[in-house]
């Protein structure tokens, strides 16, 4: 079976892709800074996909990986299992732009292990698939940091179930999970999440936030932000909000001559695009995500 994705990078030195019995292994060499984003772009296909990908970021390495699932990936089912190991003191930015055909059923499992003193920032943008079940788990070592931002929009009859969990095992870890979603039409959007701080993880600071805009009387949304704190030397919290667009904001825009339809569009885009400001050095990613909004 051909490799279902292409890897495009400004510089390929230090990047190794191997095909193994169990799937694919991508290794980024230690002690290197990889300039420019490394793109994993999935190829167009109608055939069902069962992909297992293992990604290792070497010690002290620094890289940005952009994973793109375009709309011409249109199999009936996609099972995607990705394991990421960010070794000690590495610095990884992982961006997923998922816009597979709205006829596909996608199950994604992403497990990330963050080594001591490493930093990982994950951005996940989900727009495609008829049904999406996404489970992201991060395990964070001592003095390491992991921030996860999940942005999702559901339209038509789409049904998304997105779970983002983080567990802290080493001392003085840092982390934030941020979920932002918009539900329209008759879609379902569900955010789940669990922050676990183990007994061994004194000095941890962690936060989990789920914000959802419910824009349709026929849509269903839910939020389950959970905490499991097993020691006292922590600062942890979570927040969740479910609301519609603020009538005051719409009124403000209307008073400036912007009609309600345009006002709603602007406010919804602003709500979702807020996180794109953090990717200012990746204009192609910003452009791509904006095009789906």
């Amino acid at each position: 079976m051909p490799i279902p994705f292409d890897i495009l990078a400004p510089e390929t030195r230090g990047i190794t892709l191997k095909v193994t019995k169990g799937g694919y292994t991508l290794t980024l060499a230690a002690n290197r800074t990889f300039e420019g984003p490394i793109l994993i772009k999935f190829r167009p296909t109608d055939k069902n996909l069962n992909i297992s990908l293992s990604v290792t970021i070497g010690k002290n390495a620094k890289a940005t990986i952009v994973e793109e699932w375009p709309s011409d990936v249109r199999p009936a089912t996609i099972n995607y299992d990705v394991r990421i190991a960010a070794n000690e003191k590495s610095d990884l930015r992982w961006i997923t732009i998922q816009n597979v055909a709205k006829t596909s059923i996608m199950a994604e499992k992403r497990k990330t292990t963050i080594g001591n003193k490493a930093e990982v920032n994950i951005y996940s943008f989900d727009f495609g698939a008829k049904r999406l079940e996404s489970h992201c788990e991060q395990s964070i070592g001592a003095e390491a940091e992991c921030n996860l931002t999940s942005v999702a929009r559901t339209q038509g009859t789409q049904h998304f179930d997105i779970i983002c969990d983080e567990s802290f095992t080493g001392k003085s870890g840092r982390g934030e999970i941020r979920c932002k979603g918009v539900a329209q039409d008759t879609s379902h959007l569900k955010f789940g999440g669990l922050l676990t701080i183990e007994k061994t993880a004194g000095g941890t600071q962690a936060y989990l936030k789920q914000e959802t805009l419910n824009l349709s009387s026929k849509a269903k949304v839910s939020a389950t932000p959970a905490l499991n704190i097993k020691t006292n030397d922590v600062k942890a919290g979570h927040g969740a909000s479910i609301r519609n667009l603020s009538p005051e904001e719409l009124f403000y825009l209307a008073s400036r001559g912007i009609n309600e339809k345009m006002g709603k569009k602007m406010l919804t885009e602003a709500f979702l695009k807020e996180v794109l400001n953090e990717l200012a050095d990746l204009p192609d990613v910003q452009k791509r995500v904006t095009s789906f909004l």
Binding site: A226, I229, N232
Partner: protein
């Protein structure tokens, strides 16, 4: 000196101590009562109370369902709860409907309630009081003034005899016997409890209290509380409970059903202090009509395992629910508490404020369920959970579930977990306050938003109970 929050009345609950709760009276009467459950026992309980046939039928249906229903699939491990080792029905004083006055109550039982401050509270601050000892109510009384206005405040067994139609209409309708395994068991074994009816437009300004006391080893208490607040009426019901510690499992599976009519208001306060070997698997639920208000104010200090999630069903338009609670999980305790709110009517609103403390390896859990139905236009809900973990051995969990099927709803949930802020303690110490006192002040400040909602005497009781739990940490 006039009592105030700073200088409360010295009487009533300010003198409570561990001995008060751990003291147990002689249990000679238990020779007559066996352990374990059976259909025969269900029939014996019903016959002993002289119940109508419909109630026996309900009990038998519930008992059959008990075998079919599984244990809860969430929460603490209940596998060590030996249901065959529990005594489901026992009477210390065989007096149907209770005694007419405290003087007539057998001395030993009366002394127990005296130590708990109940008769004194009745004299000073309450409109009525009920006292249950093991499976039956031994005393129940309401001030004449309120009885004259049509307020019915009775032992549940007596209410079934005197007002069978009213009881039949409401009994186990908000909480059906099929709700979960322990409600099926409750439906089969229930005994005692309180029936409160406040007629249309009557506003009972003083609180009414019921106190539930288990005395013997391995007791099970299954009191049923049914509260009906008719249209435009208002009331405040307070529930207290305790049991001595024996080192063998006891079970409390009570049920509280509340109906709040149009424009009516009820405040339901409870201070729960069962012994640390009690499984407190209690179910409380209220259904609200148009413009109705319910306020739940609760403190869970006792029990080894607690699973308690008061629920409000906001059926009528503009109905409102407040859930305010404190849970203290000390060594060996699991306080799995929370709240459930179901928004059905238009413009309904809810507010949940929960504070938990964990110490000595205790586990506190907030479990919430908030649902907004399609019909609940403009529903608003605000949930705040704060947890303090007082040492590295203890833990805290927050598990809320929020679901909305209405695009006009506004829901906010916030939770924070942490320890006592060292900078705050240091600040107070730098002003000459000893460390333990400084820590106690911060803990008091933490729980104050809930405690201040209680009547003065009960706020004192709550503070005293928290203080007892904090002993050896902060006095």
């Amino acid at each position: 000196m006039k009592p105030s929050r700073k200088n409360p009345s010295p009487g009533v609950f300010s003198g409570l101590n561990r001995k008060t709760f751990d003291h147990h009276d002689s249990t000679g009467y238990m020779k007559k009562f066996g352990k374990g459950h059976s259909e025969e026992l269900v029939r014996v309980i019903s016959e002993d109370k002289g119940e109508p046939k419909w109630m026996l039928d309900l009990r038998l249906r519930a008992y059959r369902h008990f075998f079919k229903a599984p244990l809860p699939s969430f929460g603490p491990d209940l596998s060590k709860l030996d249901l065959d080792g529990i005594c489901y029905f026992a009477k210390a004083a065989d007096k149907k409907g209770g005694f007419k006055s405290w003087e007539a109550v057998p001395k030993e039982i009366k002394n127990t309630f005296e130590r708990l401050g109940i008769p004194e509270a009745e004299r000073k601050i309450l409109a009525g009081v009920g006292a249950q000892y093991e499976s039956e109510v031994i005393y129940h009384k309401i001030e004449k003034e309120w009885a004259r206005q049509g307020v019915i405040f009775l032992d549940m067994d007596v209410a079934l005899q005197k007002h069978p139609d009213l009881v039949k209409k409401y009994f186990m309708k908000v909480v059906p016997i099929t709700d979960h395994k322990f409600m099926a068991l409750h439906g089969a074994m229930w005994s005692g409890g309180t029936f409160l009816y406040i007629p249309k437009g009557v506003k009972v300004e003083k609180p009414l209290q019921a106190y539930f006391r288990m005395n013997a080893r391995s007791m099970g208490q299954f009191e049923h509380t049914l509260i009906i607040i008719d249209d435009g009426a208002k009331g405040h019901y307070i529930e207290g409970c305790s049991a001595p510690k024996y080192g063998s499992s006891a079970l409390h599976a009570g049920c509280v059903e509340i109906y709040v009519g149009k424009n009516a208001k009820l405040r339901y306060s409870s201070v729960e202090n069962w012994s640390k070997d009690t499984y407190n698997l209690n179910t409380k639920r209220a259904i609200l009509s148009k413009n109705a208000v319910i306020e739940w104010v609760g403190g869970n200090m006792g029990s080894g395992v607690t699973m308690l999630y008061p629920a409000s069903i906001l059926k009528g338009d503009n109905a409102k629910a407040d859930h305010l609670g404190i849970a203290f999980a000390n060594a060996g305790q699991i306080q799995d508490t929370g709240s459930k709110v179901f928004h059905i009517g238009k413009n309904t609103s809810s507010r949940v404020i929960m504070k938990s403390l964990s110490k000595g390896g205790g586990q506190s859990v907030y479990r919430g369920d908030l649902r907004i139905a399609k019909t609940a236009t403009n529903a608003i809900s605000q949930v705040e959970c704060d947890a303090l973990i007082l040492d590295p051995k203890s833990s805290s969990e927050t598990i809320p579930n929020i679901e909305s099927a209405n695009d006009t709803a506004t829901i906010n949930h916030e939770a924070r977990v942490g320890r006592l802020n060292e900078e705050d303690v240091f600040y107070l110490m730098s002003r000459g306050i000893p460390q333990e006192e400084a820590e106690a002040m911060i803990v008091n400040g933490f729980i104050n938003p809930i405690v201040r909602e209680l009547p003065l005497e009960y706020a004192v009781e709550m503070n005293r109970l928290i203080q007892m739990e904090m002993e050896n940490k902060v006095a």
